[in-house]
Symmetry: C3
Subunit: 231 residues, 3 copies
């Protein structure tokens, strides 16, 4: 990538090497944009309108807004019309589609994919390689382990897409699969590898295939305390 920064873009942070920033993108103060990053990538309909080269693509892009104090590592692709808060840190190769919104102080692990309009709150910690499709909503203070898969189509290939909602303070273990339309309620825990086909009640821990309630969050925290003491 030779590097291309739109004349319409406003870059208050630091771009560390050749990257592409299209349209009226705003990169906030103190934000680090690594090399090989693409900000303001045009959505499908615009890409298909037959642009010839980066200048024409740039003219088509509405750009994206990235807050201040963020870190955007190499190979990350952020589509146009995304809104990212302050102090958001991303790993490498993150992909964020148009219309997605991310709050502040949130971390997005390497190769995680927001594959449509995805809404993520503040103080969220999403590990590497998580797949979040169109309409997923993740509230504040949620943790999502690596390689978690979320879906939005209950009977593929369907016309009715239903986003998964993960409420405040919930914890999702590595490699879990959350089926379209379910809600993981406040403070709930989904064990690693669980397949969640129904709503998870608040402060309950679910385990297995399909996922069933195994204990309360309180008991989980007690086990955790013992484990951390070396038990």
């Amino acid at each position: 990538m030779g590097g291309f920064i739109s004349k319409r873009a406003r870059v208050l942070g630091e771009v560390l090497g050749p990257s592409t920033i299209l349209g009226e993108s705003l990169i906030g103060e103190g934000t680090i944009v690594d090399q090989q990053v693409y900000v303001g990538y045009p959505k499908r309909s615009k890409l298909l309108s037959n642009p010839r080269g980066l200048e024409e693509l740039d003219a088509l892009s509405s750009g994206s807004r990235i807050g201040s104090g963020c870190v955007i590592r190499s190979q990350t692709i952020i589509y146009e019309e995304a809104e990212i808060g302050d102090k958001v840190e991303m790993g490498h190769g993150v992909m964020i589609r148009e219309g997605s919104k991310i709050g502040s102080n949130t971390r997005i692990g390497s190769f995680t994919q927001l594959d449509g309009m995805v809404t993520i709150g503040s103080n969220v910690n999403i590990q590497s390689r998580v797949y979040l499709p169109h309409l997923t909503v993740i509230e504040d203070d949620v943790f999502i382990g690596p390689c978690t898969i979320i879906t939005n189509d209950r009977y593929p290939v369907g016309k009715r897409l239903s986003g998964v909602r993960i409420e405040r303070g919930a914890i999702i273990g590595a490699g879990a699969i959350l089926i379209a339309g379910i809600r993981v309620s406040e403070g709930a825990v989904v064990a690693a590898g669980a397949i969640v086909t129904q709503d998870v009640p608040a402060n309950k821990v679910v385990v297995g295939v399909p996922a069933r309630v195994k204990m309360d969050r309180e008991e989980y925290e007690e086990k955790k305390r013992r484990y951390e003491k070396g038990g």
Copy 2:
């Protein structure tokens, strides 16, 4: 990537930014090649023959054939000797190994990997992050949900590799695992997260770990109709 287009390549479409196209590659009319794309990547034996720089790699590459009206998004890597039909659309970071064949009107989601000689029909819809190893065959009109894993080695590390075959019109849910050598017959449905260890009969829906028949395709379609009406 500074961008390198082989003198032997025939590019009838549009290359939007710095990309690498090696060997006698053919890029059809109206095809969009994004930036940071690699077409005609040399297979292993050639890479190991000690080429010095892109010119020598280029001389070694047999190139690939990409049809007309395709979209090849950034970070995609297509090895030499791949054949891709018309109106094929790919997401970002797709990887396609040598000898793979893709029909027309097929969509390949971001970060999906054809890791060997893989044959894919027409009107196929493969979502993001799907892993398809050597010898996999996917017939026309198939849908594969995100993060599906297909294998080809029943008793690893084995000498006898057996490709999975997914027949016409089958649907594979997100995160399913299909074990080496099985056949998913025409019109069958594999639920999200299922681990399929045996052949799936035509027009049956399988669910669970290991996957068992749960209903007919007809019943599945009826449930889907009710769900789409809001039921």
Copy 3:
């Protein structure tokens, strides 16, 4: 990526196209570094110290050591302070974090991620898209199938991280999930898709969710022999 090779780096092998090599990196004789590779990527604390451009990043990087006769394919990112032996071959888009060590004659598949200090022996074969977190240890002669997920946090979000250890000659099937702290003993086999929550005894084969012992390695090898004869 315009390409940037540190004046402090010692490159005895061949760099095939524009790549970035920072700090006192050593690239051994006969090693092939593809284009769009990043070697010596600075760890988090350094990246956050406000470097302005690649020269300043370069000054911060301690570099990495890569042996002789290796192949490092495009889009691979190797952080500083990694140590890689001789004749190690990587696919595309591999990510290796700071402090990781890899023995000799080991293969790392495309998009596999060593996400922290990970120790890998010699003659190891790791397929594509495997996720290996901080503290994972993999001994010599191990095979890991594609898309396997390893974890290190038994009760997320926890303070006590426990690495998984996979002992010599073990085999892990595709898409398995290994829970934090477990040990897969010498010669054991984990079936595809298994979720391993407890230690696996030596030379046992475990299957299912959660994984249970199903047979001895000897029986597994016998079944394999029959299968390879066409049974």
